[in-house]
Symmetry: C2
Subunit: 673 residues, 2 copies
């Protein structure tokens, strides 16, 4: 049984139960093998905080390393590492202080807090599940509420809760009206208590505030991407769904800065032929399912807003599937118009299907110039890019020239403030003023710094359009942001990798994780078939060589049966198990096929390295003549570091005694090691 | 000029200045090349918070990867990953809520806060520097204050501040008495506001609270080590010294759990012959300098408390020197008795000398059973290990048997409390009571839960020693904790790697970081000698191959002179620069020697990989006949993955046209690729 079987059985009645059973078995395995456990367990834990134990930590570190390889190195991104503690001013500019909230209701007697939308959702789902005799209109209504729940305002949520008579789940007491609760963990920076700060809710802001330096570092050239991996924090009201909704998590975010007038991508061609499940806005509205689309088609038809956004969607698809996410349970869903921030040009979520349904794991958004503009405005530091023209261009520019003498006469000591306010007008304001002055001769003008309006007359300011030669264009770059919730990806990976199969005797179900080597917490285990000192020595020697070759593994020379040992290594998802049963040869067993091959001891490490590195497949290794030991080949890996990769070359392994003769046979040979 | 020159010039008068100049030049280079920069700079920053920009982030990630390789993989440690947000109960048990404080004084008028010891330190240092005419006794006194400053209580600090008339540095206002300020960032977990939490001040507690699970995961066997890399937080009162005293930092901590009765280490022999600067307690007290000691001698003489502590000191030495820390400016300083926590068996700091003096970068402490006991007590969950005896052992056990009937008659409703108190006595108390009861017939006994003493008579309790058969020993493991401040190590690495050398023309000083390849942010740069499309194509092709080989690099095809390009790559500490000047061969230039070799284009990637992987040295590469291109050897790296490493083998490269003949010459050849 695996997730596929569970989900595909969705038409059967028992589906709800079997999803539950699948998840319970999975979670029990994950927790008992310390993939992850509730944090601070001996103190009864804290909701929404989890520890990764040794195998979970290894999976996480493998996933992060691959992310760095696949995105940062492959695309030459600028990686940065900023603190979690963030002063309030930054998160005011980004909008988080005002808007990073969930709607909360309180038990009016005990004060216990609940997420308002969760209570309404639970109520609707329960009614639909248990209400066999509900009238059709009621069913339609409840389904509608579930569909639009995420868009409800505080008032709408409150009146639905009242209408349905929803009470506090623990006490049945009545509930307060919903009100916004800010999800940031607040703290205070420094000893004075006067500088509020927050634990960052995302890593992106650290990149935006550094745009100016990063742009310069990149030789003042666009496009470029910056990236950051780090902890982020959300003080969830009532976390549930295990690793999917937690109060602290690892984010990996990319901010790709581009010219808003040119959103092409030089490597777009590499992904154009990928085909996978996409769920465009139109299909969602029409009530259709996600469907397979060629990425190039989605971009050329304008379903995906631009090439760069498309490129990242393709790269995310490659990243997730290479980790082991099942492509049949992965889709890219476009945000509906009302889901998107007003400034966003387009937004797609990589959603992964698991026993909880479709889970948003990566968001890929074209955020336009919003973030850089917000920080420019708040900090007063221009976060802009320059495009130097190859030759100067003539442009029409609006020139505002306050006539200081007239203004001085009219406004005396306030003159400076009026001048500054006039000069600060944007183009639209200035053109309107020009028109009014021309038609009426004077205009009322609000001066913020004076806190009042003044009357500006025609003679006090000259507003004109002038032709100017410009040598460069100055603009705020657009940002394409792929943002990865690593914990969610890892949890979905656990679900997609987990399956149960009967034991050899058929008397029990054994748990297996079919992790690809890339993410497997350990690449192999080393066993002895029986407890025997000679075999143990061999096992330790193999373990030592595996360490030297950088292959993470576990050695198990305890007295369990080999069947029990296999079951334990399968439960950790180790792709291979080496069993030492003689002092000259050992067996290598592959986890999923349970196939075994026998190889000489001196070859075992290189074979395991080869198949776990992805240089070769298990099928390929199986057909090689490993039992031959007449040539010694262990110096080759070392020697080969001297040379490049890619070209064809003929290599011969020659037993030492033949060497002298061999050299003589090739008089013009110029490389011998 | 480098740090060595600056420090060794310490007898000259200009030393103070030249240390300053060295550091200013270094910091200016680090910040202008974005190794690190103050966080949130566009908002004028926050003291004690720094961002790592692209090269700094790469150095950090290399250092962390090497730490993981050197400690976690090499020693098979159990790595875990716990949240930063920590509930109060955990940090109460660990003692942080009560004791993780610094003494603070406030400007009595403005409320500005200062660290009390810093003000006193600054005062003494300034007096000593400027007070040419100070009487000898005064000089002695001030020097004494500086020496014992760290041990001052709040009262002692306060009276010294009063005695010296120290005022607030910014305003000259008078100062409050010193009082403790807790250095943890406080926050609130969940929406109720009733669950205080803190950002963890160290990563260790996450390991201690998981001891039970980790011990089980390790097959219920000691010794084993758990490790964690992660963020930690200290809300410093007034951070200074750049990266050395920050409010958020990356810690890497190891908790090695051992049987307190057996602190040997199986791999101790690997480090026993290392010799380096050690600064034992006795030498410090006698006013001597640190001296070179063989580690084995320090352990056998009892200077270092035990083998396992010694083993980790040796491993830390290897770790730091392999990163590029200069061993002449690295010492291991033992804590003085009054510096150590009362429970610690021994403690050594790896201190690195930099322009700020000797900086504590790694602490290596034998913390005995303190932490596990503290969490056992507070949580009620026994954090213990078991040693199963091969056969049962007879042990004498103290048995305390309260006679409930008699106690009931005597104490009525308080009987239960008295019984519990009697049973809770430790062995020493019980033996004393037994003796007193035997000699006097009764004893006064304090019952905490009653808040008073009661009289216990002989008939009320029986205390006896009984022989029992025990099948196992249950005990609380000791903990050896190496704790690494990664930011401090990295900053010291910057200082140890930085030097200035004159430009070719001799008209300016150029900055260089002599990072070893292991930590260098990029391994090489790729230049074109002149702006030329063909050369640029070659450069791009080399860049692509470098990416495929996993070699981080930068490509620079801008129109600067080659001298300027070299200067820029030296300032990033890239060990090698590839200059494309023809379409068939390129030059590789080594950073520190400025030596160049010419190699064929198809060999450049493998050569760079070889020298940056540490498979070969630059000296070795220089003497190879690279200019020969008559054999094609690029398939070798790929082919070799099929084989192991370590054995000797003879390899011949044979031009393709000779292959058929070659095969015929070796009829018994059985491996050909």
């Amino acid at each position: 049984m695996d997730l596929q079987a569970v989900i595909n059985g969705s038409s059967s009645n028992s589906n709800g139960v079997s999803k539950e059973v699948f998840r319970q078995t999975l979670v029990k395995t994950l927790q008992s093998r310390l993939f992850y456990i509730p944090s601070f367990k001996i103190y009864r834990g804290v909701a929404g905080l989890y520890d990764y134990g040794p195998p979970g930590c290894a999976v996480k570190s493998n996933v992060l390393a691959f992310w760095r390889q696949h995105f940062v190195l492959e695309e030459n991104m600028l990686e940065v590492d900023c603190p979690c503690v963030t002063p309030e001013v930054v998160l005011k500019a980004s909008g988080h202080v005002e808007k990073f909230t969930d709607l909360m209701v309180k038990d009016e007697k005990t004060g216990t807090c609940y997420r308002a939308d969760h209570l309404l959702k639970d109520f609707c789902e329960e009614k639909l599940e248990n209400g066999f005799s509900l009238p059709v209109e009621k069913v339609t209504e409840l389904k509608h509420v579930l569909a639009v729940l995420d868009e409800f305002s505080a008032n709408e949520l409150g009146s639905k809760i009242k209408e349905y008579g929803i009470t506090a789940p623990d006490t049945r007491n009545s509930l307060s009206d919903p009100y916004p609760f800010n999800l940031m963990f607040q703290t205070s920076i420094g000893p004075s208590g006067l500088n509020p700060g927050y634990m960052r809710p995302e890593t992106a802001q650290g990149i935006f505030v550094n745009f100016k330096d990063l742009y310069y570092y990149n030789g003042s050239k666009l496009p470029f991407a910056a990236a950051q991996i780090g902890q982020a924090f959300r003080n969830e009201i009532s976390p549930r769904q295990g690793l999917l909704r937690v109060r602290e998590f690892t984010l990996a975010e990319i901010e790709h800065f581009i010219d808003p007038d040119d959103k092409s991508h030089p490597k777009y061609g590499d992904v154009v032929d990928l085909e996978f499940l996409m769920f465009p806005r139109e299909e969602q509205i029409s009530g259709n399912e996600a469907k397979k689309l060629r990425l190039g088609e989605a971009v050329s038809k304008g379903i995906v807003n631009n090439e760069t956004l498309g490129y990242f969607i393709g790269r995310v698809y490659l990243f997730l599937t290479r980790l082991g996410i099942d492509k049949e349970h992965l889709r890219f869903r476009q945000h509906l118009a009302n889901e998107m921030a007003h400034y966003a040009a387009d937004c797609w979520d990589a959603e992964i299907e698991c026993s909880y349904g479709w889970i948003e794991c990566v968001g890929i958004a074209d955020r336009s110039a919003y973030d850089l503009r917000a920080h420019s405005d708040k900090s007063g530091v221009p976060l802009v890019a320059h495009e130097k023209f190859s030759e100067p261009r003539e442009v029409e520019k609006l020139v505002i020239a306050p006539v200081k003498k007239e203004l001085g006469l009219a406004f005396k000591g306030n003159q400076k403030m009026v001048v500054e306010a006039l000069e600060a007008m944007d183009e639209k304001e200035a053109i309107e003023m020009k028109a009014t002055l021309e038609s009426k001769g004077e205009v009322e003008f609000q001066v913020c710094t004076l806190g009042k309006a003044v009357t500006i007359k025609s003679r006090m300011v000259s507003i004109s359009k002038e032709k100017k030669k410009e040598h460069q264009r100055v603009f705020t770059p657009s940002v394409i942001e792929p943002s990865f919730g690593m914990g969610r990806i890892i949890y979905c990976l656990f679900e997609h990798s987990f399956y149960m199969r009967p034991s050899k005797a058929g008397d029990e179900q054994l748990n297996v994780f079919r992790f690809p080597s890339l993410v497997a917490p350990i690449k192999c285990t080393v066993f002895t078939l029986i407890q025997d000192q000679q075999l143990e020595e061999v096992a330790k020697q193999i373990s030592k060589s595996l360490t030297a070759a950088g292959i993470s593994h576990k050695i198990d020379i305890a007295g369990n049966t080999i069947g029990k040992k296999y079951a334990r290594t399968d439960e950790l998802g180790a792709p291979f198990a080496i069993t030492v049963d003689t002092t000259t040869t050992v067996t290598i067993r592959e986890r999923d096929s349970k196939d075994q091959i026998r190889v000489p001891i001196e070859k075992v490490v290189s074979i395991v390295k080869e198949v776990t590195d992805g240089q070769s497949t298990w099928a390929g290794v199986k057909t090689q003549p490993h039992s031959s030991t007449s040539t010694k080949d262990h110096g080759l890996a070392k020697a080969s570091k001297l040379f490049g990769a890619g070209d064809s070359i003929y290599i011969y392994m020659i037993p030492a005694k033949r060497v002298l003769a061999g050299v003589a046979m090739f008089p013009d040979l110029n490389v011998a090691l």
